[in-house]
């Protein structure tokens, strides 16, 4: 399995380079430039020329491109054109917020979506169960996350006042304590910080998780339907096993492979979902950062964010592929 993983990682390098190149040129093909975005209606000819020179944007595109790739190889993603912070530091700060959001909404989506999908597949001949579940899925699919987000904020933050309106919680402390080992010396403080993070995470994870749960339930439903119509299920039933054993022992295990595929796809969908979720819930994170960076034509920041997104998707897909072999012994990698 190791040679396979290494090979996959090697293939990831050109993929990453390709993605980075596409982003580099796509950002520059977009009309409007960072200087104009920064100066708006007060941009004079001299000021624009000054700005371009200061940011190195007056150089030929080819030179900028080679410079960008060469620096990226050395893990130097440059500085944000707007705020001047190093892009890598910026991303390092934003990434954990996006990471916990994706994980938490994945949990919500899985906990809600998978059981619904399975039940709706098993009870597909019972309209009293299947129809409401399918309506739920349809609602989730057609409910945009920003709308559901605002709704949740109005109910749980404004009226019931049980959750905060903005922010990502004290994630810095959590990370710092994990890094320094203080988590063992001050477990109370650590739990408080974790609590604060969860307190801020609940509504965004719920909003994003619920909208994604619909997709997950649809995918889980069709995966279950596929498994349940296989020969070995019929054999199991023919042996006289009860429905419960058929589902838990045979169907569920065999559903894991398609389910893993779903999770792989899901991470990509969830990452794009963070863009809106982080904006509505005013959470720091890569998604919100990416939107701002594209709007401001902050090339290095947008490039950095998309590079990280690409890396996440490559890694998740690799992990999913490797896990296939774990859940299904028939699959081996050489």
């Amino acid at each position: 399995m190791l040679p396979y993983a290494l090979r996959r990682l090697l293939i990831a390098v050109p993929m990453l380079l390709g993605a980075m190149s596409i982003v580099f040129f796509a950002m520059r093909i977009l009309p409007g430039d960072p200087c104009l975005a920064m100066m708006g209606d007060q941009a004079t000819t001299e000021a624009l020329a000054d700005c371009a020179r200061n940011l190195g944007l007056h150089r030929p595109l080819a030179i900028q491109y080679v410079d960008y790739l060469w620096r990226s190889v050395q893990l130097d993603f440059g500085h944000s054109l707007r705020q001047g912070y190093p892009v890598s530091a910026y991303i390092a700060r934003m990434f954990p917020h996006t990471f916990v959001l994706v994980v938490a909404s994945a949990l919500v989506a899985a906990l809600v979506g998978v059981p619904i999908g399975i039940v709706s597949a098993l009870k597909r001949r019972n309209p009293l169960v299947d129809y409401p579940l399918r309506v739920f899925a349809l609602l989730g699919l057609s409910m945009p996350v920003f709308w559901l987000g605002i709704l949740l904020l109005i109910v749980f933050s404004l009226h019931l006042d049980v959750f905060p309106l903005i922010g990502g919680g004290d994630l810095d402390t959590v990370i710092a304590m994990l890094g320094s080992g203080e988590v063992f010396t001050y477990p109370g403080d650590f739990l408080a910080a974790v609590g604060d993070v969860l307190y801020h995470l609940a509504l965004p994870a719920l909003a994003l998780g619920l909208t994604l749960a619909a997709t997950v339930s649809r995918l889980a439903r069709s995966a279950m339907l596929e498994v349940i119509s296989q020969d070995f299920i019929r054999t199991a039933r023919a042996k006289g096993q009860g429905e419960r054993a058929v589902v838990y022992k045979h169907a569920l295990r065999n559903m894991l492979v398609p389910l893993l595929t779903i999770i792989g796809i899901f991470v990509a969908i969830a990452l794009t979902g963070t863009v809106l979720t982080e904006t509505v819930f005013t959470r720091p994170g890569l998604g919100k950062m990416l939107v701002d960076a594209i709007g401001a034509r902050d090339y290095p920041l947008a490039q950095g964010a998309i590079t990280v997104f690409t890396m996440i998707i490559i890694v998740v897909n690799l992990v999913v592929d490797l896990l296939y072999a774990v859940v299904d012994p028939r699959i081996t990698y050489r």
Binding site: G32, M39, D41, N54, Q83, G188, L206, T282, G295
Partner: protein
């Protein structure tokens, strides 16, 4: 599913209870919570973004400030601030400023001296990387430090608006030379000024925290801390105002709906003039608008009152009455063609367009007021036979395209130093005609050259009455040549929870300001 949702929430709640309750701390400290967008820098000379200009006023001061007269702040007069007095030489080119003694910079960077004043202006004049307002100081020839508390500024020629340039706003802010030299590139996020609040910390994409400066020369502010949150969505800001998360909102756009909601929750809107003017420039070099009858038809076709009432019903804005807005020196009321679609059709027929014409590939920004105002105007124009085929683009793209002269008429908004000279110079001086061939990205979108002589005369005239007459004549010519149709004057507007924060100035036009915010944040008070 419900069980899972409820369980998740309960788990989060239970853990949240472990988090430290900030309530006790907040009671002890007077914290002002502001919802706005995040500034791009805290170097006051380096950004034109509204939120940046608004926040730097908390941290920096200038030699002069907008005067408080009869309980209101005016942009037409200045008072001493970091300078306690000044004199002007008889030939009008040498200003001598006496600095207030004992003014301290934040964070132990020492007392304000003439060196800091010289440095603050010279870094902009030399176009230090990132600085944006050097062009506003182009009139300065040299700056000389006479003694630690006296600075002399020699001008190339008399400048009628020099004291306005010295106001704590954009180029006028004084920064600490020591801090800027020591910190270099880091200064933008380690700002050091003499204002009522000093910079404490910045959590990117979350908030900027400012703290009261004990040694502020006019006395420590009542508010202990300012938390400036990065909140992009106006909907979220409103929920936060009602919930009490925020005390002040800097909205992206104040719509009738927004104003209604603010009113319903018992909050107020602070309106500050002169604000921005929204207007159409008509490119007189583009067919068919090179024909004055077509321009007249265009103006008769547009129902300005309808646009004003749809966009900004009631008090939200005022119908524009001149291309130089009220609150600017030199403003005189003008007259514009009244809404009259029949006359517009007749004029078009006379000009050879009995069936109207089509404007293809017309670009409009997707942001701010642009798409809405244009949609209304598009409908008005359609009624007289002028079809506008619109493409909605990103704001940055819009700015690029209008400077490539892709739109035969240009919708534009903005605020400038409150005097007719800089205002008219930017929008009607022949030197500012944008031209992709030469790279000129000026803002004379009308391509007008009809008042160049007046602008030249106004810049050297020292008699204020004669200056006023020159700009009155300029407005008359602009009215005659029909190159610009001003629509509305939109004030700067913030929403405030009056049960939490008070300001000494009346909410409705009690302040005029240029930086999208309160002129005197140190006078804001937490009331409970």
């Amino acid at each position: 599913m419900q069980t899972i949702v409820v369980l998740t929430m309960l788990a989060a709640l239970g853990l949240a209870a472990l988090g430290d309750p900030p309530a006790a701390e907040a009671q002890r400290k007077k914290v002002l919570n502001i919802a706005a967008k995040e500034p791009d820098t805290l170097d006051p000379h380096a950004s034109i973004l509204g939120q940046t200009q608004a926040i730097v006023r908390f941290v920096y001061r200038g030699l002069t400030r907008f005067a408080i007269r009869d309980g209101k702040v005016t942009t037409a007069e200045v008072d001493p601030d970091l300078a306690e007095s000044w004199t002007l030489s008889p030939d009008g080119t040498l200003w001598t400023f006496k600095l207030r003694k004992g003014v301290q910079f934040h964070k132990g960077f020492g007392e304000l001296t003439a060196e800091d004043v010289k440095f603050s202006f010279e870094r902009q004049m030399k176009r230090a990387p990132g600085t944006r307002f050097g062009v506003n100081l182009g009139v300065i020839k040299s700056i000389e430090v006479i003694d630690p508390h006296t600075v002399q500024i020699a001008l190339k020629a008399y400048d009628p608006i020099f004291l306005l340039r010295m106001v704590g706003y954009q180029q006028g802010y004084i920064i600490s030379r020591k801090a800027a030299e020591k910190l270099g590139d880091q200064f933008k996020w380690n700002p050091v000024g003499t204002g009522p609040f000093y910079f404490d910390r910045h959590a990117p994409r979350e908030k900027v925290v400012l703290k009261a400066f004990d040694r502020y020369h006019a006395g420590r502010p009542q508010i202990d801390e300012v938390h400036w949150f990065d909140v992009p969505e106006d909907a979220t800001k409103l929920i936060g105002l009602e919930k009490g998360t925020f005390d002040l909102l800097y909205p992206e756009a104040v719509t009738a709906d927004f104003a209604d909601q603010v009113k319903k929750m018992g909050a107020v809107i602070d309106r500050r003039g002169p604000g921005g003017q929204e207007r159409f420039y008509i490119n007189i070099t583009k067919k068919p608008f090179d024909d004055i009858r077509v321009r007249k038809a265009f103006m008769h076709a547009i129902d300005r009152k309808a646009i004003k009432e749809t966009m900004y019903p009631g008090d939200l804005a005022r119908l524009a009455i001149s291309v130089v807005p009220p609150g600017y020196f030199g403003h005189v009321p003008m007259e514009f063609p009244e809404y009259d679609p029949d006359l517009a059709r007749k004029l078009l027929a006379e000009a050879g367009y009995p069936n109207g014409f089509t404007v293809k590939n017309y670009f409009i920004s997707k942001s701010f007021f642009y798409p809405k105002v244009l949609t209304l105007a598009q409908e008005h124009l359609r009624k007289v036979g002028i079809t506008v085929e619109v493409q909605v683009v990103e704001h940055a793209t819009y700015h690029e395209n209008i400077r490539k002269n892709l739109n035969p008429f240009v919708l534009y908004g903005g605020t400038r130093i409150t005097d007719a000279d800089p205002w008219l110079s930017l929008f009607f001086d022949g030197k500012e005609i944008p031209d992709p061939a030469t790279g000129n990205k000026g803002t004379n979108f009308a391509h007008y050259r009809g008042i160049d002589d007046l602008l030249q005369a106004g810049r050297v005239e020292r008699d204020q009455k004669k200056r006023a007459a020159i700009y009155a004549e300029a407005q008359k010519r602009l009215q005659r040549d029909l190159v610009c149709l001003p629509l509305v004057d939109v004030p700067g507007q913030w929403a405030r929870n009056p049960r939490r924060v008070s300001t000494p100035f009346p909410p409705d036009y009690g302040e005029f300001s240029l930086h999208y915010s309160y002129n005197y944040p140190e006078l804001l008070k937490i009331v409970n």
